[in-house]
Each structure stands twice: as C-alpha cells, then as structure tokens.
C-alpha cells in the first residue's frame, strides 16, 4: 500500500497558506501556451505543478488528487500531479495523456491558457489541435534522455503550425544531480537541431516539475543558472504586436430591420476605423465602413480580436464566407495554391477526390491536385508519395471549386489556415497551411466562345444531358445504356457513349484500379462528359464509379438538372452468377486485385435520380424507364 503521508503534509501546507487568487491582469493579453515533448518527460506533472504552486488547486481537488494518487499514481510516495490533468478515465487507467487538456490560470502579471498535448505519435492530431492556437511552446525533455524522436517531431509540428517561441524545459534535473554540463549539452543540441526551424526565441531552463525547481521560484540546486524561472519567462514573454493588414471574415449577416444590414464577425488581424476603404472578397466590390456597431454603442475603431458588426456603404451583397480586407493591402484571390497538410484521418488522402474545405468562414469543395512531396516528420526529408495516411505531413497543390481569398500562413494565421472535411462522414481529415498561390490559375481565363452550349443545343433541338449509369460489374450498365443510345439515335438525337472499358484503352490507360486511380479515372471522365455536354450532346456514361464522392464531384461539375444518376441495381450474387466477362471468376482466384464488390468497396447511391431493378425487368423495359425519365 502506498504511503500518502507526504500528500497529507502538502494538503496541510496548502490549507495554512493565504491564497493568491490574482485579478486577471490588464497589462498583457492572455498567453496561449502549449506543453509538449516525449512521453514520460513530465508534461502533465509540470502543469499540475504550475497550478499547485499558483495555489489554484482547491481543497477538494487536492483531496481527490491524494485519493487518486493512491489508486492510479505513478509517483509512489507523493502526489501525482499528472492526475490533475489526465481527466479521462482511460487516461488515468493507462497512465498516459490521450487528448489535449486546457487549463486556465492567472498570476499577478498575466493570464494563461495552457494546452497540455499528448506525446504519443497516434495522438499527433490532438497535439496539433493545441499547437494551432498556441503562441509559445514549452517543450519538455528528460534530462537523462536528451532529445528523442518525439521531441523532434513535436518541434517540427510547432514550427509548421507557426509557433515562434519555444521554451526548452530540461526536466528531472534532480535525477542527474542538477548537472550543469548535461543541461548545457542538451541546450546546445537543441539549438543546433532547431536552427532551420526558424523560431524567434529558444530559451532553455533546467527544471524539476516534481519538486518545483525553477518553475515558479529560482532553485537553490542550480546556482549556476542565470536565466529566468519558467513562469517568470512566460509572464514577460513578448509575442509581438499585431501589425498585419485588416482582415475580417464575415461570420453572420445581421438583418435587424429592412434598412439595417450588418456584417457580424471578429477582426482577424489589423484594425479598422469608421470611414476606412475596404473590399469585399473574393468578388472585389469596393465599399466604405459606414458604422462599426457594438452592443455598447457604435465605435470609431475596432482591433484584432474584437467581435463587432460592420455596416458598409454602399450596401453590398456580402455574405457569410466573404472576407473584408483593407483596400490598399489585399490578400490573394485564386483557386489554386500550394500548402502543407497534416493528414489526421484514418482514411487516406486521395489526390483528385472532392473534399470540403473550410477557410475562414467559407466552406467550398476542393481537391488535392498533386502531392509534391511528403515530409518525414523526424528527419524533415522530402519523400515521394502518391497518398497520405494518418499523422503524415505533405506539401501539396490544391484547387478550390471557386476563387477564394487567402494569405500565406506565415504572414497571417487566420487567413492562411484551412481544414478539409469528408463529404460523407463529416470527419475532419486535415489541417492545412497555405504557402503560396499558384499563378497558372490566374492567367488561364476560360475562353468565352461566341457559340455557346445553348446555341448548339438549339441547333440539335435537344436538351443536353449526362446520363450516368453506376452499378457493380455485370449489373447491366453497358447493356441498358447501349439500348438507350440506339433508341435516342433512332429518334434523331445526337448522343455519345463513354464506356468504362473503352476509356481505359486510351485516355486513362495510365491508370490502374487502386482507390486513388479510380478517383482520377472518374475525374477525367467527368471533365470529358462536361465538354461533350457543352457540345450539346446527350452523353451516356456507363462506369462502375464505386465512390459516392466522385459521382457527386461530376454532378457538381455540371449545372442543376444536367446530371442524371441512374443506379443499375443488381445484387452482388446475381452479378457473380451472370459474370459476362469472366471477371468475378478471375478475381475469386486472386488474379484480379481491388475488384469492386469483392475486395474494393461500392457505395450505393443514396438518392439516385433513377433506380433500375435488374432482377424485376428486362434490359429493354429498363431502357424505356430511362427514356420516359428524359421525357420521351
């Protein structure tokens, strides 16, 4: 049984002390701190120590801590401060930190929001969550072990996410007898390693989180150390004034009355005064700030971080998703850019697939057009890659469905950051940081032709359509599509049929059957179908097209009503029985890999425009159903 006398003694000491519950300070803004470092380097212990020393651990929490220390604690004889933070049951049972914990506390000089990040690689996304908003990172290193792979990985993520200031807290100094030479060696190693990462400040401090050396008070054990204590440094750290240009993402339109149209949002960077000239992006309409409305009354000026409501003159049709910016210092506007991505989802990144991007307050479809290279998170080496999996970082080119306003992340965290979300599962897939705009998009304008789609369609006396037949191999897609085309042709319609096998002989002969190749296959076919539609044709497409996301992508390439999704429905067992090309037999023998329905998935359409049940009617009858849908 553990001895908790030490814990009880601390409790008594705590109760005897006058509290130091400081007023939130006015001088410096709240500092957002991230603690990170390798597993067991003592991150949670350090935060627990900070809260405890700041007298912010209440009696009942301390009593619970003494109880929990006995039950779960790693520190046999003492209070285990980590248990103050590892708030989830699984964390206490496993003795590790899984998710980032936020602790808020204030000293007499400054208030802090501390994000305690997990060390394990599998929880990198939780660490990155904390890093995305932090201004300074406290990177812990075990004095006995020095820099570990996780230390390097966390340093890279801090740099990638734009943290400019690092405190290298060399912890557990008590276990190496407060050895100055060892501390200085670790500090030198880190400074050499971190040089290419571009931090503005790196401050090494020798500490013992468990015993409190150099945490809030200078340690008697390290008389040779002339630097600040950890808290002393954080209290006075200057993270730099905000001198970036005015950026204001429109969050919500306040229509209080017929004559009031307020654009509610938070000033991201810079400042705005009444009368300032702005532009509403991406369209670029110029306007002047007529009023800055706040609940306490109109203001003359609003600064970064303030939540206000702008009224523009002349009234423009700005909406949520638009970005209001200084007219003389504008962001980029474009639909292609290069960015770093941290992929956090369990499903891999597929180039070409349509994802949802959130940038500022705007949501829009976007896709990765190329993975330039993957970044080895430990060595920072560049590696070739065709896809990306969980916790991997890559430098990519992206394309958005429409032009969007943005800045480089290094210049502006607010307008240079984005997330990617899966369209079906709504899972957050990646965090992205824009490096630069790709110019080729800006310079290639869509050539406006004198003869357009409507004119061509009129000459042919028909409504152009894309009939998209999807279903398993052997379901009857091509058979039905062929009959439909013959009948349309007989009626004098102008048609063209794109067939899966035929396209793979030419246009797509470089593509295989992996998930990423299937995505690219459908993307190209979609673009070809779009051009043919523009030519005024009725285009018949018969493709397995197994993924919902890509069918949706093609639908969105076209105008409303032009895309008709036809689900050719046949049970897998029936398709295997028919097996018109003998493919199922080969796949079952293992001679074909990634065969849809067997070892590669098929997402059935949720709301197709037409569903053809091939077990209930003949191909001719089903072709009639399609023709009736087209209006004869």
């Amino acid at each position: 049984m553990h001895d908790v006398t030490a814990g009880d003694a601390r409790l008594a000491e705590l109760q005897g002390d006058a509290a130091a519950y400081a007023d939130p300070p006015a001088a410096r803004g709240t500092l957002r701190v991230l603690t990170c470092g390798s597993v067991d380097d003592g991150k949670s212990t350090l935060i627990g120590r900070l809260l405890y020393d700041a007298r912010l651990v209440c009696e009942d929490h301390a009593a619970a801590l003494a109880r929990d220390s006995k039950r779960y604690g790693n520190a046999a004889q003492e209070l285990d401060f980590a248990l103050l933070l590892d708030g989830l049951e699984a964390e206490r049972q496993q003795g590790i930190t899984i998710d980032v914990a936020y602790r808020i506390f204030a000293t007499a000089r400054r208030s802090f929001i501390v994000a305690d990040a997990p060390g394990h690689e599998q929880y990198t996304r939780n660490m990155a969550t904390g890093a995305s908003t932090a201004e300074v990172a406290v990177l812990l290193v075990d004095a006995r072990k020095g820099l570990l792979p996780q230390t390097r990985r966390h340093s890279h993520i801090c740099a990638l996410f734009g943290i400019r200031h690092v405190v290298l807290a060399v912890n557990k100094m008590d276990l190496i007898g407060h050895d100055r030479a060892a501390f200085e060696q670790i500090a030198r190693d880190f400074i050499a390693f971190a040089a290419p990462l571009g931090f503005q400040s790196v401050v090494p401090i020798p500490i013992s989180a468990r015993h409190g050396d150099n945490v809030t008070a200078k340690s008697a054990h390290t008389p040779w150390f002339e630097g600040p204590t950890l808290i002393g440094h954080l209290e006075t750290l200057d993270v730099g004034a905000d001198d970036a240009a005015f950026r204001f993402p429109v969050q919500w339109v306040n229509r209080h009355a017929a004559d009031f149209r307020g654009l509610a949002g938070t000033v991201g960077t810079g400042r705005i005064r009444r009368g300032d000239e702005v532009v509403v992006l991406p369209v670029g309409n110029p306007a002047t700030v007529a009023r800055i409305v706040a609940a306490d009354g109109d203001c003359e000026e609003a600064r970064a971080g303030e939540a206000v409501t702008l009224v523009l003159a002349p009234e423009t049709d700005a909406a949520r998703g638009d970005l209001i910016a200084a007219r003389d210092d504008r962001p980029e506007v474009g639909d292609q850019f290069a960015a770093h991505l941290l992929w956090v989802a369990s499903t891999p990144l597929l180039p070409g697939r349509n994802y949802l991007m959130r940038i500022g307050t705007k949501w829009m479809p976007a896709s990765i057009t190329a993975i330039k290279h993957k970044v080895d998170i430990n060595s920072r080496e560049h590696l070739a890659a065709r896809r990306l999996t969980t916790n991997e970082i890559a430098f990519c080119n992206l394309a958005t469905a429409a032009p969007v306003a943005f800045d480089a992340y290094a210049a502006n965290r607010g307008t240079g950051a984005f997330i990617l979300v899966d369209r079906d599962s709504n899972e957050t897939l990646a965090a992205g940081m824009i490096r630069f705009a790709l110019r080729r998009a800006t310079n290639i304008h869509w050539e406006k032709l004198a003869v357009d789609k409507a004119a061509r369609a009129q000459l042919k006396r028909q409504t152009p359509r894309v009939l998209w037949f999807t279903g398993l191999s052997g379901s009857g897609k091509s058979t039905i599509a062929r009959i439909v085309e013959q009948r349309l042709h007989a009626e004098g319609r102008h048609t063209y049929m794109l067939d899966g096998d035929n396209v793979r002989h030419g246009l797509n002969r470089d593509l295989g059957f992996t998930d990423s190749d299937r995505v690219e296959n459908i993307r190209r076919i979609g673009e070809v179908a779009k051009l043919m539609l523009d030519a005024g044709l009725v285009v018949l497409c018969a493709f397995i097209s197994p993924f919902r996301a890509e069918r949706q992508m093609v639908r969105e390439l076209l105008q409303q009503g032009e895309f008709i999704e036809i689900f050719v429905d046949a049970p897998l067992a029936e398709c295997m029985r028919r097996d018109p090309k003998g493919l199922y037999a080969k796949a079952k023998e293992g001679r074909i890999k990634n065969f849809t329905g067997l070892d590669s998935p098929y997402d059935p359409p949720e709301a197709p425009d037409l569903r053809l049940d091939t077990t209930a009617a003949s191909a001719e009858e089903l072709a009639d159903v399609v023709l009736r849908r087209l209006g004869g």
Binding site: D60, L85, G87, V100, A264, V293, E306, A307, R413
Partner: protein, 308 residues
C-alpha cells in the same frame, strides 16, 4: 440589465478578450446550424451566457429559443428569477419536464442523486432536444469546473443517441470549427470554455448582470447532513428524526436542485464581498454539488450518456 460599462473597466483586456471569443462562438452556431437552442439553467453562468448572446446579435433579438430543463426541484427563487428574466428580456423560453420521470415518482431525496440526475436532467434534456429537433445546444460549461470538461472541445460532437466519445473527438484546429452533422447528430457548444469562476463574477460585476439572490448571503433555514448544509426550500424535504431547520447566514456558489445543493456559511452579501470571498476560496465551486462526488470519473460517465 444594461450594456454600459464604467471607464475604469475599459482596461480589462482579459474580460474583453473572453467576451469577444464567446460572441464569435455564438455567432458561429447561429450561422452554421439550422435549429439551435441555448440551455438556460438560471445560474450565474447562464446569466452571463444570456448577456453575451444579447450582445452577439445586437441590435437583433436572440435568434434562438432558450431551454430550461426543469427537474421541479429547483429553488423557488430560481424559478421566479427565470420567469422575470423571460418576461423582461422577451425570451422565447421553453420549459421542459420529464413527465415520465414525474409519473414514476423519481425525486432527488428518495431516488438518490444518481437516478434523479439521469432521469430528470440527462434523459429530460435528450427528450427536449429530440422533441424540438434542435441540432445545436449552447451551454455554459467551463473547462475549469472539472477534469473531463478540460478535455472537451468548444464544439463537442454528439452521435444520434446524444453520446459523447471522449477518446475520439474531432480535432479543433484554429477557430475553424467543423460544424457539419449528419441527420440526427447534434452539437453541444460551450462559449464559456475558457472562462474561470472568477472571470464570471468579475464580468457580472463589470456589466451589472442580474443573478439569482441565492448567490448572496442571507439568513436561510438549513439542516446539516453529512457536513453539508441543505436549505429547506419547501415542505417537500423530509426531515429526519429530531432534525430542526436552523436559520444560518449562508449563500450558494452553485445552484441546482435544492436538496442536492450545499450552502456555504458566508456573510458576503454584495458582489464585491462575493468576489473578495472567492479570492480566499479554498474549495472548488462544484464541491457543493452532491451529484459529482460519487467517483472521480462520474462527470465523464454522465457526459458520455448525454448530460450537459
């Protein structure tokens, strides 16, 4: 309630920053969800939430209804305060009671705090969210209250059974909240995540926000049970043999169902005195909540089941 603030408080950058962050979160909810609601528990945090919401959407009215899940065991002064606030501020107030629980005779004294909380709070909340089809619910929880709250996101995803999966939360990068939901899924949103108890009181003082008088010390009839002072708010509290309510100078740091909410002895009768007392406080505010003390992990378990 007014939005005027005195000149001396203009310096308080800290409160301004907290206020602006909370307003941004509330606006995001209204912009991103089809049918949001704000939970209103009548306590000090709810009062602050309501005040922030009025600022966020000024000059418009609140663009969502306000929901009180009533266990029928709240202090009488709380209900009076609620109804006055709804009247004066013109709130669209929904009061929901779990009628099934009432019929089954669930009460905090005989059924015990765990059953009462599950049936009359957690189940009742789920009933109300389902009945009205709310897809997002704003609440006043703060990360400094409890350890599992410190781990929770600002936009906290719930599956179609209102369950929380603490091991698999959506990463929350920057303020780029992923607000997308499938049918039946919901979001709980916490605009006061980064406020502390002291921040709440300082803001109430600065902004002149009304709160229930139970937060201020007064002579009140109480009985002492297992070291906790329970106020005898009405005749429903069964007195044990020989138990006689005594009048003591007490106040509450947190408000809930009166038989489950411990009072503290105090002479702090004004905001200044309450804040002064807070600076010397050695216990956490939820200590008076009997429902939290069953086990260290009890809050997390309740939250996984759908408790706010």
């Amino acid at each position: 309630m007014s939005f005027n603030r005195s000149a001396s408080d203009m310096d308080s950058r800290h409160l301004r920053q907290l206020e602006a962050d909370s307003i941004a979160i509330m606006r995001e909810v209204v912009a991103a969800f089809a049918n949001p609601v704000m939970l209103y528990s009548i306590g000090k945090d709810s009062s602050v939430l309501l005040h922030l919401a009025r600022k966020a959407f000024h000059p418009s009215k609140l663009p969502f209804p306000v929901l009180h899940v009533d266990t029928t065991w709240k202090f009488r002064e709380m209900i009076a305060f609620r109804d006055r606030a709804a009247r004066e501020l013109g709130l669209d107030l929904i009061v929901h009671v779990n009628e099934d629980g009432l019929r089954a005779g669930v009460d905090p004294v005989r059924s015990g705090s765990a059953v009462h909380t599950r049936v009359m709070k957690t189940e009742a909340l789920k009933q109300a969210l389902d009945r009205h089809g709310f897809d997002a619910a704003l609440g006043g929880a703060r990360r400094d209250e409890e350890k599992s709250r410190a781990k929770e996101r600002v936009f906290s995803f719930r599956n179609s059974n209102h369950g929380w999966d603490p091991r698999n939360q959506r990463p929350e990068f920057w303020q780029l909240y992923n607000t997308r939901l499938a049918h039946g899924e919901t979001m709980r949103v916490f605009p006061l995540s980064n406020w502390t108890e002291l921040d709440v009181w300082l803001y109430i003082r600065e902004q002149g926000i009304p709160v229930v008088p139970l937060y201020f010390a007064a002579e009140r009839p109480v009985v002492e049970r297992a070291g906790t002072l329970i106020m005898v708010d009405d005749e429903r509290l069964p007195l044990m043999d020989g138990e006689v309510p005594q009048h003591r100078q007490v106040r509450f740091r947190t408000l809930g169902c009166y038989p489950l909410t411990g009072a503290v002895e105090s002479t702090a009768a004004t905001l200044d005195e309450v804040i002064g007392e807070m600076r010397l406080a050695r216990t956490s505010e939820r200590q008076g909540r009997l429902i939290d003390s069953d086990d260290t992990a009890s809050m997390e378990r309740k939250k996984r089941e759908g408790y706010f």
